[in-house]
Amino acid sequence: MSYDVNGKTIDHDEEGYLTDLALWNEDLAAIIAEKEGVNMTPEHWEVVNFLREYYQEYQIAPAIRVLTKALTKRMGADKGSNKYLYELFPYGPAKQACKIAGLPKPTGCV
């Protein structure tokens, strides 16, 4: 189970999440996104970049509310909503965006 990026193979788990988070790069993100059927726009990258910044600091993806608040600040109130996040990442912002950002899958009752 692996992605092929620029001639390199990068392993992922059964669900497509990276097994080694350090191997993430933007080319890989684009490949994961393509597999997910997500067409990456600047707004998608904004989300992915924020997820990665937050993860660096806290070792977990941000809560949806933390994410929407950050996006409101960066992109305006019309883009800082859960609904907008679902438009960007139809399978759910937490799980699909985390996968593309190379983060582990949020687990539990979410």
């Binding site: 059964e14 669900e15 997910e36 059927g37 806290y58 070792q59 977990i60 941000p62 809560a63 949806i64 509310r65 933390v66 608040k69 859960n82 609904k83 679902y86 139809p90 399978y91 759910g92 937490a94 799980k95 582990p104 949020p106 687990t107 539990g108 009752c109 979410v110």
Partner: protein, 500 residues
């Protein structure tokens, strides 16, 4: 991602529900991801399927029969009357006959008969006794992970046979031979390592709570606190970690905080017990349940609280209400004036009744609510000090918060409630087909009140139910945002400040 399965048609009128056409093997392909060795070993289970698993599984079944008298009664008592056959939401949504509760039970019962009854040992074919071979093990893995342990079938069984307990036993046996389910076992490992199902470390939790204080201040102008690890607080609030993370869960958490604030009761969350859920129940592991429950005891002692209140979480409330004393008691160090544990809904309802908080229904103008009884609250516990409190109390709180409330079809509420389709350790993406199909009975009843009564929202009091509905309602053409937390309604309706 387009669904590669058929979404079942909704039942127009639950009064006229018909038994679905049987489709043998319809769901035989569905198996959740198997736990990796690291997930297994963290819980003391073998990493992979062990040599001689056939004998070891039978030996483990023998141990469980000696430990839980109920299990043997359930395996012996079935008379094949058929009362349960059309009561399981997974059967109704999939038509797979192995999802009939009796057939699900028979997967374990047939092995039990072969090894633990004289007739089964001598004349196996006469009494439906079977060996545990690889095909049987595959069926166990598949169909014991298509039971959400909701116990609806047991309400209709004349003998009270509890399929949930049988499925818990089967999962326990599989864990002990090295065939665990990834979703549950990875999560239990996170609770041990980090403190909650989500894997939310203390600094992230603190940051999230701080953010919520800012949000509420911006929204209301009031300094509502979300205290963490405050020693000497009166109340320890134990709530599912999804309340910190997901929507609409977090709106419920904001509601709890406003209630405590307005009532003037000091409270705290704990970073040590930052999770109400106890997934060990889903895998039938008493040992793991005990370890997880003891975090709450430790937090209560360390923080020197007087009482424990649980947030909106279905199976956590079952574990808390029904087993907490056995698992982590005695609780003699808490204030005996209060129930141990207490549900946040009891707490809020008391305040509504005695005027400790005031709610303004107009704040939720335009909303017509219905209520989804969560299975573990409805059928495996109670709330308050009177029979049926678990049905009455949530509805009372909702009715005090919104202009209009309508119940769904009587065959789908109270102790006959249908599971959301994602309970019992099945709320995982690898089982999404089952989750969508299993939601059919509940969504049918919901759609009926949406169309006939103008219901706009459905409230739930379980983190799993909330996440499950948010995920599956769009498959049936309903808006994910129609699912709300009960305390989200309270949060909108509560009058802050100036409450004397």
């Amino acid at each position: 991602m387009a669904a590669n399965y058929t979404i079942p048609a909704l039942t127009e009128d639950p009064d006229l529900r018909e038994t679905p056409e049987l489709t043998p093997g319809a769901m035989g392909h569905l198996k959740p991801f198997v736990a990796a060795p690291a997930h297994q070993e963290a819980l003391g289970f073998p990493g992979t399927l062990v040599d001689g698993w056939e004998e070891k599984a039978v030996a483990r079944l023998g141990e469980l029969l000696g430990k839980y008298r109920s299990l043997q009664v359930y395996l012996d008592a079935c008379v094949k009357c058929g009362a349960c056959t059309d009561k399981c939401h997974y059967f109704l949504g999939t038509g797979d006959p192995k999802n009939m509760p009796v057939a699900r039970q028979d997967l374990l019962r047939s092995v039990y008969r072969r090894h633990f009854t004289p007739m089964g040992k001598m004349f196996p074919r006469l009494v439906g006794a079977k060996e545990l071979d690889r095909a049987m093990l595959d069926d166990w893995y598949s169909y014991y992970h298509q039971c959400s342990q909701c116990r609806r079938c047991s309400v209709f069984c004349p003998y009270g046979i509890d399929t949930a307990e049988i499925s818990m036993a089967a999962r326990d046996i599989m864990d002990h031979i090295g065939l665990g389910q990834k979703y549950c076992n990875e999560i239990i490992g996170k609770v041990h390592k980090i403190g909650n199902n989500l894997g939310l470390p203390e600094p992230a939790l603190a940051d999230t709570l701080e953010g919520l204080e800012e949000d509420v201040k911006d929204d209301t102008g009031h300094d509502v606190r979300f205290p963490l690890d405050v020693e000497g607080a009166d109340v320890l609030l134990v709530t599912p970690s999804a309340d910190f993370f997901a929507e609409p869960h977090v709106d419920g958490l904001i509601g709890y905080a406003k209630v405590f604030h307005q009532a003037g009761v000091s409270w705290t969350l704990s970073s040590h017990a930052s999770e109400a859920a106890n997934f060990a129940m889903f895998i039938g592991s008493y040992e793991q349940m005990h370890i997880i429950a003891n975090r709450i005891r430790q937090a209560a002692i360390d923080l020197k609280v007087k009482r424990i209140v649980f947030g909106e979480c279905g199976h956590a409330w079952r574990v808390a209400y029904s087993f907490l004393n056995t698992l982590a008691g005695p609780w003699d160090f808490l204030d005996p004036k209060y129930p141990v544990p207490q549900h946040i809904l009891e707490f809020t309802r008391d305040l509504i009744r005695n005027g400790g908080i005031r709610l303004d229904r107009e704040a939720n103008t335009g909303m017509t609510l219905t209520f989804h009884d969560s299975c573990n609250v409805a059928r495996a516990s109670r709330m308050g000090d009177f029979e049926g409190g678990q049905f009455v109390i949530p509805r009372e709180v909702i009715k005090a918060s919104v202009p209009k409330f309508v119940d769904m079809h009587p065959d789908t509420i109270h102790d006959k409630t249908f599971c959301c389709g994602g309970g019992g350790g099945l709320l995982t993406d690898d089982l999404i087909e089952l989750r969508v199909k299993g939601a059919q009975p509940r969504v049918s009843a919901l759609k009926q009140v949406v169309e006939r009564e103008g219901v706009t929202h459905m409230a739930a009091i379980c983190a799993i139910c909330k996440s499950q509905f948010t995920k599956v309602l769009p498959s049936y053409g309903l808006d994910m945002e129609m699912v709300v937390s009960v305390h989200q309604l309270v949060s909108k309706a509560i009058r802050l400040g100036g409450n004397d």
